[in-house]
């Protein structure tokens, strides 16, 4: 009964840090919801709703992760990894803002491009960058 393109949460996506994983599931759900809603019909309002959720996500989720990075001094652990991570966060926000700008000038990004961007981000960021952060955090917490 799943729609095509629906991302099912795989245990493989779990980083092992509960708070982070919980928030990642929200992103998966948001992508799935976007996929479902936009496949029926795509309106500017819908894109606005979805991207608004993504802006909100960018604030609470990145705050969670970046606070952890600061608390445990991830930068001291690996300057390069820290910078990559931060850059990916900023890129995500910048992309979402760009999508909203494209809506504003009535030249919206296609559904496929939006979903592709989100899915790629999810896979690359969660599966690589976040897992490395989580591995680091696990050495710091019990």
């Amino acid at each position: 009964m799943e729609d095509s393109g629906t991302i099912l949460w795989k245990s493989d996506y779990d980083t092992g840090v509960d708070e982070i994983d919980e928030q990642h599931r929200i992103l998966v759900n948001t992508i799935n919801e976007a996929n479902k809603r936009l496949s029926k019909e795509s309106s500017l309002e819908m894109l606005e709703d979805i991207t608004r959720d993504l802006l909100s996500y960018a604030i609470y989720h990145f705050e969670t992760e970046e606070e952890m990075m600061q608390d445990y001094d991830y930068k001291a652990f690996s300057q390069e990894e820290y910078e990559t991570h931060m850059k990916q966060h900023r890129d995500f926000s910048a992309q979402v803002v760009a999508v909203r700008e494209s809506i504003k000038v009535r030249d919206p990004i296609s559904k496929e491009a939006l979903i592709d961007f989100l899915t790629d981000w999810l896979i690359n960021h969660i599966n690589n960058t976040d897992k490395r952060l989580a591995a680091f955090l696990k050495t710091k917490t019990i």
Binding site: E22, Q23, S56, Y60, E67, V105
Partner: protein, 729 residues
């Protein structure tokens, strides 16, 4: 630790002797009294102790005699092993035990007792035995059970009530955690129950509820719980669920059996069914009472989507809603604790060459995410009415506070603040402003330096009080601007309806006007519109010098954008205003009314600039499309425009032609070099190219100015128009 009940007779023999002397008295007691030595051998008992244990003295020689006849349980119903019995325990621990409630069962009967056991020590502190007293509380216990039933069960259906339900639910959740399986909480509400109550009466309703309870108990599994909350609301807890399908199977059985006809007082009642909402733990990992509430939410969805069905609570969307809510709370906190600030972007008048206003643009100095710009958080704020109000009030407060600071520093500059249409619909908006002014202890006359910019004109139409509120604000000296002008039809209505002072053309129009021929006429038209309505027009979003010059030529005096200055903190803004020096190039731009010819020139010029940009872009990405490169100096729009002057070459036009060819030549040579050296353009080459392009702009501006000065403008126009007719395009 010594208990106050600890008896400190010199020897146990003394105690027994005392007791035997007073045996008649002890036999009168309601309590059974026994003394046991360290080996568990009976040293003394009164007659009540024998009655309690249903034995004669011969049958109660040792503690073992008691445990062989009776089985003991604690108050929670847990079976106690002989060594866990109070007397045995105290012999072991040497610590007294008080008020222990025990259930003791034999083959014939069940009794409840309360027991106290105290250790007995000799003079040296060696344990010699224990003294135990017990009271029969069987009659109290049976009453308690009855009370417990009243407290825990629904008297009509005898199902567990809300109280017992929460016990059972808590227990099920613990089990689910341990067993790593799921618990489904199903809120059941009958469909059509009210009609039965209304037509057949409450007694009939009660009969129906009893039958519903009976039917549900029949179809659920033995380890599930059905409870009645009251009215026609029931809850089923389905425990030990491995997957959601397991729960669906049971719920279909419930739906089916409840939808069958009922016989009530010889009436056949049809049309009763159930709407069920389900929340599943731990998919929905929340507190038990929230689980019930979520099930309730889902139950209403089931009712709304047609009844006689079950609906699962949408955890994903709930999680999202809650997370979004958290973000809003976070923003609210940030505003109130002062994490928000304004950056200011100057608006200049190119004619008077002064900074005339600054636009206040919010920034969120986030402790972890850094400085966030409005397009990252404003969409969230604007979407929440309450938060929007908080934000707008903060903005007004911060704006006038800054006005006050600058005023005291001797700086008189207008501040423009974006305000949501929603605030302008609040009848008390003006009094809110006045309140802020008096709270901050600021001269109300400063409000004359405040401008409110309305960005979203489309929502103005649905609001009733805007006209009045704007008028009240204007009485205080506040001016109004319409932003994003030219993109929405509603902005046209708005300048007619409201006393607007300024329109600000949308920055996307300005940014694209030189690249997209469709935008330029709109940009031109807006200035005309503004002068027709006798209001001023501002161009925002000017990012390059050529845009600035074009805007001046089109007729915009007031310009804002990166080409002038980027938004900056208030201190930097103050320094910028004080040290402001106008760009000399602004004067080069002709300020005549725009004509068709000027427009063509602008396009030609823009086309050329765009071409240079594309070339640089291409060369720096190791690839250049042929159509960009193959354009020669005669084929490009600029070249075609220039053809019109071939007959009347003046020295400056010759320079222009020369420079234009040079640029094309330069590009071709550069392209060949890069191809040969297999590399991309370096910054020195890029700067050289841009400088040549800039020279072209300046040269053009000078030529235009000369033409204007020599009043040859008209001739030029005619000439070109003539040429155009000959050549076509």
């Amino acid at each position: 630790m010594l208990s106050k009940k600890r008896l400190l007779y010199s020897t146990i023999t003394g105690i027994i002797r005392e007791m035997n002397i007073n045996k008649d008295l002890l036999d009168l007691m309601q309590e059974g009294v026994q003394v046991w030595d360290v080996k568990g051998k009976r040293l003394f008992n009164n007659s009540q102790a024998l009655v309690l244990h249903g034995v004669d003295a011969e049958e109660m020689q040792t503690l073992d005699d008691i445990t062989s006849k009776w089985t003991f349980y604690d108050d929670d119903g847990k079976l106690l092993r002989p060594i866990e019995l109070p007397a045995t325990k105290v012999l072991h621990t040497k610590e007294p035990l008080n008020d222990i409630v025990l259930k003791m069962t034999s083959q014939e009967t069940t009794r409840w007792i309360v027991q106290n056991v105290t250790p007995l020590f000799d003079g040296k502190g060696e344990l010699e035995g224990v003294i135990s007293t017990c009271v029969d509380i069987t009659h109290l216990k049976s009453q308690e059970t009855k009370y417990k039933n009243i407290a825990n069960y629904d008297p009509l259906t005898h199902l567990p009530n809300r109280l017992l339900l929460s016990d059972r639910l808590a227990f099920s959740l613990l089990r689910a955690n341990r067993n790593k399986d799921k618990v489904a909480v199903c809120m059941i509400d009958l469909d059509g129950f009210k009609a039965v109550n209304d037509t057949l009466g409450h007694d009939a309703g009660d009969v129906l509820l009893i039958e519903v309870a009976r039917r549900m108990q029949k179809v659920i599994r033995p380890y599930d719980t059905v409870a009645r909350l009251g009215g026609d609301e029931f809850v089923v807890i389905l425990a030990d669920i491995a997957k959601i399908d397991d729960c669906a199977i049971v719920l279909y059985r419930v739906l089916n059996i409840l939808a069958l006809p009922y016989m009530i007082d010889e009436h056949e009642v049809k049309g009763i069914s159930a709407s069920i909402g389900v929340s599943v733990y731990p998919d929905d990992k929340v507190e038990p009472d929230i689980l019930l509430r979520h099930a309730d939410v889902a139950m209403y969805q089931a009712k709304n989507s047609g009844k006689n069905r079950f609906t699962f609570f949408d955890v994903a969307s709930d999680q999202k809603i809650r997370a979004n809510h958290k973000t809003l709370e976070r923003i609210k906190k940030a505003i109130t604790q002062g994490d928000f600030c304004f950056y200011y972007q100057p608006k200049i008048n190119t004619f008077t060459e002064k900074v005339i206003e600054v636009e206040a643009l919010a920034r969120w100095a986030h402790p972890f995410l850094g400085l966030l710009s409005p397009n990252e958080f404003m969409p969230l704020i604007e979407n929440d009415e309450k938060l929007n109000k908080i934000f707008d009030e903060w903005a007004i407060k911060e704006g006038i506070r800054q006005l006050d600071v600058w005023k005291k520093e001797g700086l008189s500059i207008e501040i423009c603040i974006n305000i949501s249409p929603r605030q302008l619909d609040q009848k008390d908006f003006v009094s809110t402003i006045k309140q802020i002014v008096s709270q901050e202890d600021i001269d109300i006359a400063l409000l004359a330096y405040l401008e409110f910019e309305i960005l979203d004109t489309s929502s103005l139409e649905q609001l009733n009080n805007v006209q009045e509120v704007i008028s009240q604000c204007k009485e205080l000296g506040i001016t109004f601007a319409l932003g994003h002008f030219g993109t929405e039809e509603s902005s046209l209505t708005a300048i007619r309806e409201y006393p607007i002072d300024t329109i600000k053309i949308d920055k996307n129009l300005v940014m694209r006007m030189l690249d997209d021929t469709a935008e330029m006429p709109i940009v031109q038209t807006v200035t005309g519109l503004a002068s027709a309505f006798d209001i001023s027009a501002t161009a925002v979003g000017a990012e390059s010098m050529e845009q600035v010059l074009s805007l001046i030529e089109i007729g915009y005096d007031e310009i804002q954008g990166y080409a002038i200055a980027r938004p900056m903190p208030s201190d930097a803004m103050r320094d910028f205003i004080i040290g402001f020096t106008p760009d000399p190039r602004w004067r080069l731009a002709s300020k005549t009314l725009p004509s068709r010819t000027d427009f063509d020139l602008l396009l030609a010029e823009a086309d050329h600039k765009y071409w240079v940009q594309s070339v640089i872009g291409g060369l720096s990405r190791d690839g250049l499309s042929d159509d960009v490169l193959q354009v020669t100096h005669k084929e490009c729009r600029f070249g075609r425009w220039f053809e019109g002057f071939k007959d009347q070459m003046t020295p400056d036009l010759r320079d222009l032609d020369h420079l234009h060819r040079q640029i094309h030549d330069k590009v071709h040579r550069l392209y060949e070099t890069l191809k040969k050296e297999k590399r991309v353009i370096n910054s020195a080459e890029e700067i050289e190219l841009l400088q040549m392009s800039d020279e072209l702009t300046i040269l053009l501006a000078k030529i235009k100015k000369r033409y204007k000065d020599e009043k040859k403008h008209l001739n030029l126009v005619n000439k070109i128009l003539d040429k155009r007719e000959h050549h076509g395009r």
